[in-house]
């Protein structure tokens, strides 16, 4: 049995009066994209910094490939990280920035050219980073993460500031990397993005673990059957007798949980009820997520 790729055990980080990460125990598996979700201030970035040895946990441990990050011999060859789009000197060219990183891990100079081409920064490789747009900056950060051809990728908000084309590019890149058997942990607050990208979700709220589930399970747990009938009251009681939880929706349709489409159709048939619409409604990740994090939002706007 190989050591888990990323393992957090009771990871806790307390600042003076605030607990940023609270007893987090999570294992991140290879071969899939793990989405790391949470509202702002929920501890995602602090957790990633602990994994990378940038921040020292107050309690607990974070290990990568079975050991603390600081003990990895040539970390960029094992772990690629995008922590902060500002993690570069604005006066340096993209090429010099990547070259300095490559040299520190004894990676060949040719890798710099390869990743520059891979992320599509060829035309601006010798420009100072100062003039880069947010999107170009993200591409540079991703190039840095890919330099060592690592098996593990930690990306904090990689699509922040990217245009739709860039977002699709990141999504396809992450998918491809995971399909090659690599471990991909990607944080985001863009739920719609996660829905298309991640296979597995780790959800944080106020530093605590709220969910560690396959994407399909989370969405499934929050999905339902929608049925519309001119004889709604009759159908509703029949469905309740069959074990469904029924709610009346605003437009008069019924929302049924606990039964699938086939069962609802059969119940209606046996009750002799006419059905005008029957279908499955998959909860959006956004709805599932809001339900999970509802009570754990640290910064909330006051009601208007």
């Amino acid at each position: 049995m190989l050591a888990p790729v990323i393992e957090l055990r009771g990871l806790t980080k307390r600042y003076r009066s605030r607990t940023a990460v609270d007893a987090l125990t999570v294992t991140v598996e290879p071969g899939r994209v793990t989405g790391f979700l949470g509202p702002n201030g929920s501890g995602k970035t602090t957790t990633m910094r602990c994994v990378l040895g940038l921040t020292r946990p107050t309690e607990g441990t974070a290990t990568v490939l079975g050991r603390p990050y600081r003990e990895l011999p040539r970390p960029m060859r094992s772990v690629g990280a995008l922590i902060d789009p500002r993690a570069r000197h604005p006066g340096r060219t993209a090429y010099a920035h990547l070259l300095a990183l490559a040299q520190s891990n004894a990676l060949p100079r040719s890798r710099v050219d390869e990743v520059i081409e891979l992320v599509g920064l060829d035309a601006v490789a010798h420009d100072r980073v100062r003039g880069f747009s947010l999107g170009m900056g993200q591409r540079l950060g991703i190039a840095g993460a890919l330099l060592g051809d690592p098996d593990v990728l930690l990306l904090d908000e990689p699509v922040n500031g990217l245009d739709p084309e860039g977002i699709r590019w990141v999504r396809e890149l992450l998918r491809a990397l995971a399909d090659e058997g690599r471990t991909v942990l990607v944080s985001s607050h863009l739920m719609s993005e996660m829905e298309d990208t991640a296979d597995h979700l780790v959800v944080l709220g106020c530093g605590r673990l709220l969910a560690d589930v396959p994407m399909a399970d989370l969405l499934g747990a929050h999905s339902a059957v929608r049925v519309r009938s001119p004889q709604a009251p009759v159908l509703a009681s029949a469905l309740q007798r069959a074990g469904g939880r029924v709610e009346l929706e605003i437009d008069g349709a019924l929302r049924v949980e606990g039964l699938d489409c086939d069962q609802v159709g059969d119940v209606a048939f046996l009750a002799g009820v006419r059905v005008h619409e029957l279908g499955r409604v998959t909860a959006s990740l956004e709805a599932a997520y809001l339900e999970l994090t509802g009570d754990d939002v640290e910064y909330r706007a006051a009601p208007l």
């Binding site: 993690a87 006066g91 010099a96 300095a100 520190s104």
Partner: protein, 249 residues
């Protein structure tokens, strides 16, 4: 895979970082200009000197102010990482923080040695052309070589002190203020005050040295001057390295 990247790889990386930002080249150009012109004028106004090493000493005067640029170079090499956020990428690539600081120090110190050695030879050249000394100013004169060697040593220790203070204080303004206060501002002030206590404090400060003299401060022997400067550099560097390793970034 199982072995760490050699230290030379980290040094190469730090050299790439140093040479790829403009501030390095501004500091280098100004250092050469200030010390070079200072040396030429220092030699030109010293029409004659009784000994070769005294002639060279006058030509080294430009280092008194020029070493400010060494301080700026050393401080910025560290604090720019914190100011820009680059330190996150640097420490992710090289998690051994002491190793990273050591590589940075080696690069800054080596660059300072090279520049200072070139300037010292230029100052000797100015003295040999412009200052009349009986028997000339041969480069091989032990007195001359000692002055030039002391200058290279003093500038290099100043660079190490600056790097250490940068790691210790992390802010450009804080580290530059502290360093310049200790090497350039406080020593002459204390020397002017002249009380027994102020003289004693002045002797304990890492004042800029010009050849074998303390610049605008209470004079001390070059041996004790180097020991004081070296002590400050060592303490600042070690404290900087320890705090860098302990603190979160």
């Amino acid at each position: 895979m199982s072995r760490r990247a050699p230290f030379s790889a980290v040094v190469a990386s730090e050299w790439t970082k140093l040479r790829s930002v403009r501030s390095t080249w501004w500091c280098t150009a100004l250092y050469l200009a200030v010390v070079g012109t200072g040396g030429w004028f220092g030699a030109a106004i010293t029409q004659s000197a009784p000994r070769a090493d005294i002639a060279v000493s006058s030509a080294l005067t430009g280092f008194g102010f020029g070493q400010v640029l060494v301080v700026v170079l050393g401080v910025l090499a560290v604090t720019a990482e914190f100011r820009t956020g680059m330190v996150l990428a640097s420490l992710t690539a090289v998690p051994g923080r002491g190793r990273l600081l050591l590589a940075k120090t080696v690069v800054v110190a080596t660059w300072t040695v090279v520049l200072t050695a070139v300037l010292a030879v230029f100052c000797w050249f100015a003295a040999s052309r412009l200052t009349a000394v009986e028997g000339g100013v041969p480069l091989t004169d032990p007195g001359v070589l000692r002055q030039l060697g002391l200058q290279v040593a003093a500038a290099t220790l100043t660079a190490v002190l600056a790097v250490g203070l940068g790691a210790l204080l992390r802010s450009s303004a804080g580290a530059l203020g502290t360093a310049l206060g200790a090497v350039l501002v406080l020593p002459p002030v204390l020397a002017i005050v002249g009380s027994e206590l102020s003289v004693r404090i002045a002797r304990a400060l890492p004042v800029f040295r010009v050849g074998d003299e303390a610049f605008f401060s209470v004079q001390t022997s070059w041996q004790s001057g180097l020991v004081v400067l070296g002590g400050w550099a060592a303490v600042a560097w070690v404290l900087g390295a320890v705090l860098l390793s302990r603190r979160d970034v």
